[in-house]
Amino acid sequence: MSTEMTSVSTPATGRVGTGPSRVWSRLAGGLSAWVVEGLFLLVVLIGFIASPQFLTTFNVDSLLHQAAILGVLAVGQYLVIISGGFDLSVGAVVALTGMVSAKSVSEMGLVSLPLAVAAGGMMGLLSGLAVTFGRIPPFVATLGVLGIARGLAFTVGNQGVIITDQTILNINEASVGPIPLVAIIWLIVIALVFAFLRLTRTGTYFFAIGGNADSARLAGVPVARIRIIAYVLSGCLAGLAGVLFAARSGSGSPGIAGGWELDSIAAVVIGGVSLFGGSGSLLRAMLGTLIYLMLTNIMNLANVDAYVQNVLKGVLILAAVTIPALVQRRRSIGRTSS
């Protein structure tokens, strides 16, 4: 077979960068250090120009509410992605835990919050076990868990549940000064995860196994355990996001949050986090979340058709992933293969 194939074409081991592309890649290399921050400011500027409503207190407040929910979800997704996986189950887990909290809050009060977080954690544990001990690729494992979580959400109740209990609703309505409580919860989550990644040994392992799981294993990193922790944390955070969303919508509903896994991945990717794992900044990922939501918000304010928004989102994700990947490939030609 191989003799046949050598005649097909000359082996192309990699093209040598030509003059202009090298200049471009050096330029992009310098830019990429602050490209996310630049994009953030650019989007704020576009919003400011495109709509007088963009920077009103009302709009910023509602943006922060949305950002808190997607942001908490994106923190979990970030943890899984830097450790070399994906979590496609987060949207379904939001629906499941929203249902759990909505159903249990009238009897249990605030206990329903840890209950929902624990339910999310269980789903994460399932993903983690499937990926590590089942050796199933993350994509398919979390797809299976997506099906399970969605099915369980409908089993908890196949109709939406209206929340009348004020304890949960207060989470959404309360604010500290001008800042809504949910945004503060989001900031606390960011601070805790940031400290965890920077200050603990387990935290550094996340990057190690995402960068190269084999070397990490040989260096004595408990790869399976770290992977499971990543998925459990992602599940717990999806559980928290589920409660926040139930508080915001005043109800739990089993069919909601379809496609949120894609939103959370998009947010993290726009924030410059490598989809191959091992690198990316948490704070930039959070900026990515804000950029993603602001773009949607601006399109809404500018009355862009919802279908066109879908198209633009797809193009945006593609551009956000393809362009840095191409630049990186140009820069690393000769250093790596495949």
Binding site: S7, I136, F139, L143, L152, A306, V308, G314, V321
Partner: protein, 342 residues
């Protein structure tokens, strides 16, 4: 001492390698494990439903309902064998179905009226173009296929709703409906026959062409394939192009079966096609698996779903069971493959 130790381990290693390469017929069941899983499932279904399952009318229903996913799963299998994934197959199928239905419709629709053969051709070309975009981007950028096809999926869904204004296509050419309802020999539905034809086409492409060999080579080890002279980007272009055409065919079969297509239809197509491929035992790491496995995967999921329907299991619980089947089947397949290799 050191030297002899290292040579000994080398000899051992090569013995192991030889053992791994030899087929261990004793440990494998004839026809593969999944065939026996399917048969066991059928026996279970027969017992649990007291024979209702085995009635010809029920069996043809199972096959009839599998035909669309059956063709879609072949599209997915091409991408998976090439160590990729195609998340856009479901959206492509529905878009093509809408175009074919709209163009062949006697009433006004979002596309100009075309005679039926041209309408079908338009649907297939649409699938090919979408697949080519996926293939081009997958071949030319190092971005994972699932992110690329995820983006094209979002774009296709957006464009579909945009051009159709979210309204359904109701009146395709009567011939299409006639095809969907036709029973060959009074028993076998025509869409099932179409499924068989495309199983055959998929088999020929994968096993009897140079392209098929290259596809397996790229899926198995892309670097090795490139170094031995395979034009990897072109193979990927062909692979996703084929997947796009097969997806369009699945869409046309869906149109023939239902007669009405909504832009919001086919929401479960993407996951169902991946589930079928995974359950059938095609390696999600690429390069390993046969068309036969895809068919078995589709049938196993269809029989399980039919059994749950007959037993009155709620639709919602079925989603959870399907998720569990995926996990168990993929985990078991990987274990078996590993056991065989060792």
């Amino acid at each position: 001492m050191n030297v002899s130790d290292s040579t000994r381990t080398e000899v051992k290693k090569s013995e192991q390698q030889i053992a791994a390469e030899e087929p261990r017929t004793g440990r494998q069941l004839p026809g593969g494990t999944m065939l026996w899983v399917l048969l066991a499932l059928c026996v279970l279904a027969m017992a649990l439903t007291k024979g209702v399952f085995i009635r010809p009318s029920n069996l043809t229903t199972v096959l009839f309902q599998s035909s669309v996913i059956g063709v879609l799963a072949i599209a997915q299998a091409f991408a998976v064998l090439c160590r990729g994934l195609d998340l856009s197959v479901g959206a492509t199928a529905i878009f093509s179905a809408l175009v074919v239905g709209g163009a062949s419709s006697a009433t006004d629709s979002f596309v100009p009226h075309l005679p039926l053969p041209l309408a079908i051709l338009a649907g297939l070309v649409l699938g090919l173009v979408i697949g080519a975009v996926n293939g081009f981007l997958t071949g030319r950028t190092p971005v994972p296929a699932f992110i690329i096809t995820l983006s094209t999926y979002l774009v296709i869904v957006g464009v579909t709703f945009l051009v159709t204004n979210a309204s359904p296509v109701n009146n395709p050419d009567p011939l299409i409906r006639k095809f969907g309802d036709a029973r060959i020999g009074g028993l076998i539905p025509a869409p099932v026959l179409a499924w068989l034809v495309f199983i055959g086409i998929g088999y020929l492409l994968l096993n009897k062409t140079k392209y098929g060999a290259m596809l397996y080579a790229v899926g198995g080890n892309e670097t090795a394939a490139r170094l031995s002279g395979v034009r990897v980007p072109r193979v990927k272009l062909l692979t996703y192009g084929t997947a796009g055409v097969f997806a369009a065919v699945a869409g046309i079969l869906f149109l023939a079966r239902t007669g009405t297509v909504l832009p919001s239809d086919g929401g479960s197509f993407m996951l169902d096609s991946i589930a079928a491929v995974a359950v059938g035992g095609i390696s999600l790491n690429g390069g390993k698996g046969r068309i036969r496995d895809v068919v078995l995967g589709v049938l196993i999921l269809a029989v399980a779903s039919n059994l749950m329907n007959l037993m009155g299991v709620s639709q919602y619980l079925q989603a959870a069971v399907q998720g569990a089947i995926i996990l168990v089947a993929v985990g078991a397949n990987l274990r078996l493959a590993k056991g065989r290799a060792e």
